[in-house]
């Protein structure tokens, strides 16, 4: 299997403080990797380092065959960030205009949108069940609908790799469940490699093949079954907490 992401001995510092230390893991093509850990464990920092938005202090990241610091294959990468709830509610773009932005990575300047592109946008919206919303303003939609629009934006370029950072933080449990079902289906049918960051271990256990448990360092990297049977994790969490995580899904 080809490795789409390879992280080796990654260390990141912020204002002189080490926020990630000696992280090593890899993600294979077609895999669904979950990165989990408590608040402040460095999950979002890791995502930012992967995307080249945060400088690396030590180690290296290879993503889609390129170093993260000189990455150019943006058209093969879809990104769904957290905090879309903080989006400017009066931003005047329609749903179609927002999703079109996902196509810019694959274009040369002046990055014009063609009629074929517009058709692709509408097809993606239909696929995610929100085709009827294409002319609505993004600020008029519910949180769940907005997140689907952002997912459509991340997927419209048909990326090889989808990176999601707490994508359902603002959604209610029922919509969250449907969202993860949809991602899982996409991973299985189109082979899109998925990297999901969440603080919810139960979600990881249900959908991801492997998980990376992070708390400034990589405390565990393996399958969910291995996590549940790991004596090190039992010692770390305590038997009761580990049982709760492993049997919640």
């Amino acid at each position: 299997m080809q490795e789409l992401i390879k992280v080796d001995n990654l260390t990141c510092r912020h204002a002189g403080v080490e926020v990630l230390s000696g992280i090593t893991f890899s993600v294979e093509r077609g895999e669904y990797l979950g990165i989990v850990g408590p608040n402040g464990s460095g999950k979002s920092t890791l995502v930012r380092a992967l995307l080249g938005l945060m400088p690396i202090s030590q180690g290296f990241i290879n993503i889609l065959g390129e170093s993260s610091e000189s990455f150019t294959k943006w058209n093969q990468l879809g990104y769904l960030p957290q905090n879309m709830g903080h989006m400017n509610p009066s931003f005047p773009a329609t749903v179609a205009e927002i999703v079109q932005m996902g196509l810019l990575a694959g274009k040369r300047l002046p990055r014009r949108i063609s009629r074929d592109d517009h058709r692709e946008v509408l097809e993606m919206l239909e696929l995610l069940g929100i085709g009827h919303l294409h002319n609505r303003l993004i600020g008029e939609l519910s949180g769940g609908q907005q997140q689907r629009v952002m997912l459509a934006r991340a997927l419209v370029n048909k990326p090889e790799l989808l990176i999601m950072d707490e994508p359902t933080a603002a959604l209610d449990p029922e919509i969250r469940e449907r969202f993860y079902e949809m991602i899982s289906q996409m991973n299985k049918t189109s082979g899109t490699t998925v990297l999901l960051v969440t603080h919810d271990s139960g979600t990881i256990g249900k959908y991801a093949y492997r998980m990376l448990y992070l708390d400034k360092k990589a405390l565990f990297w393996g399958t969910f079954e291995e996590f549940c049977k790991s004596p090190e994790m039992t010692a770390f969490f305590g038997e009761h907490s580990q049982h709760l995580i492993c049997h919640r899904h």
């Binding site: 995307l51 938005l53 943006w74 400017n88 931003f91 005047p92 773009a93 932005m101 810019l104 002046p110």
Partner: protein, 275 residues
């Protein structure tokens, strides 16, 4: 009334006003949505210093742009650098640079006695006094700024929506931020003749804000902002000429009227949806 359009100075004023109004409207949409409206205000205040410097160097009319244009380009980049390198917010950086600009202007006005009246005309605008040379420069800069805005339009929309997402789409965020600041600086230098240093930011903010009240879609917002701006500029120049009022202030008050009507329309629309 028709007769007024046969005067050369009115024709020049209307043409220059439309060119500057269009630039302010398009840039204004990006600046308002990025919460950078005050960069126009800060740059305008700094222009006061640049104009004083040009007058101090003995330059008049179109020749003043030789000093004020490069000076303002440097200032616009300086504001962004100060905000990032000195760990300041954009508002603090704008505040520092604009107050230095005004102080420099006041200092030069006192030291170089005798051009206080000229400086005053730049504070409140004098579009009816625009010369043919200034109109040609305005047209040339209009073409440059609009060409760059056209070329980077989709990137600027993405940047305005979310900087992080734009960056992950391979868009050079730092370059675009510098470009937006530089284009704003060029526009501010042109607009000081139209509405004056004190009112430039209103021309950047009001048409864009009015369009945001009623438009559906980003492209529609830009188009409406342009139409509102042209209406305010042309209407303002005509009214000010007919009633012998200051043109800059008339343009801005008309733009505010358009904004108020747009706001009202939005409220009525919202209420009609509710009931």
């Amino acid at each position: 009334m028709i007769e007024m359009f046969s005067y050369g100075f009115i024709q020049r004023a209307l043409l220059a006003g439309i060119l500057i109004g269009v630039l302010c409207a398009v840039l204004g949409v990006f600046l308002v949505l990025r919460r950078l409206s005050l960069i126009g205000d800060g740059l305008a205040h700094t222009t006061f210093g640049a104009v004083a410097l040009a007058l101090f160097a003995g330059l008049q009319g179109a020749a003043m742009l030789l000093v004020s244009l490069p000076a303002m380009l440097l200032v616009s980049i300086g504001i962004l650098k100060l905000a990032s390198k000195a760990r300041l917010g954009g508002d603090a950086a704008i505040g520092i640079v604009s107050s230095v600009g005004i102080s420099l202007g006041v200092m030069l006005a006192v030291v170089g006695k005798g051009y206080g009246v000229d400086l005053f005309s730049y504070l409140f605008g004098s579009i009816l006094a625009i010369s043919s040379a200034e109109l040609v420069i305005a047209a040339a800069l209009f073409i440059i700024v609009m060409a760059l805005l056209w070329f980077y339009y989709n990137e600027l929309v993405a940047l305005t929506f979310n900087e992080e997402i734009a960056s992950v789409s391979g868009i050079k965020v730092g370059f675009l931020n510098n470009l937006l600041a530089a284009l704003t600086a060029l526009t501010v230098v042109l607009a000081m003749k139209l509405v004056g240093i004190m009112l430039i930011s209103a021309l950047l903010i009001l048409p864009a804000s009015a369009a945001l009240q009623v438009a559906r879609g980003f492209r529609m917002t830009v188009i409406l902002a342009v139409l509102f701006s042209i209406f305010s500029v042309v209407g303002g120049i005509v009214i000010s000429f007919m009633l012998n009022l200051p043109s800059g202030a008339t343009i801005i008050l008309l733009a505010f009227t358009v904004f108020s009507l747009s706001f009202l329309l939005r409220r009525i629309r919202a209420l009609s949806h509710r009931y």
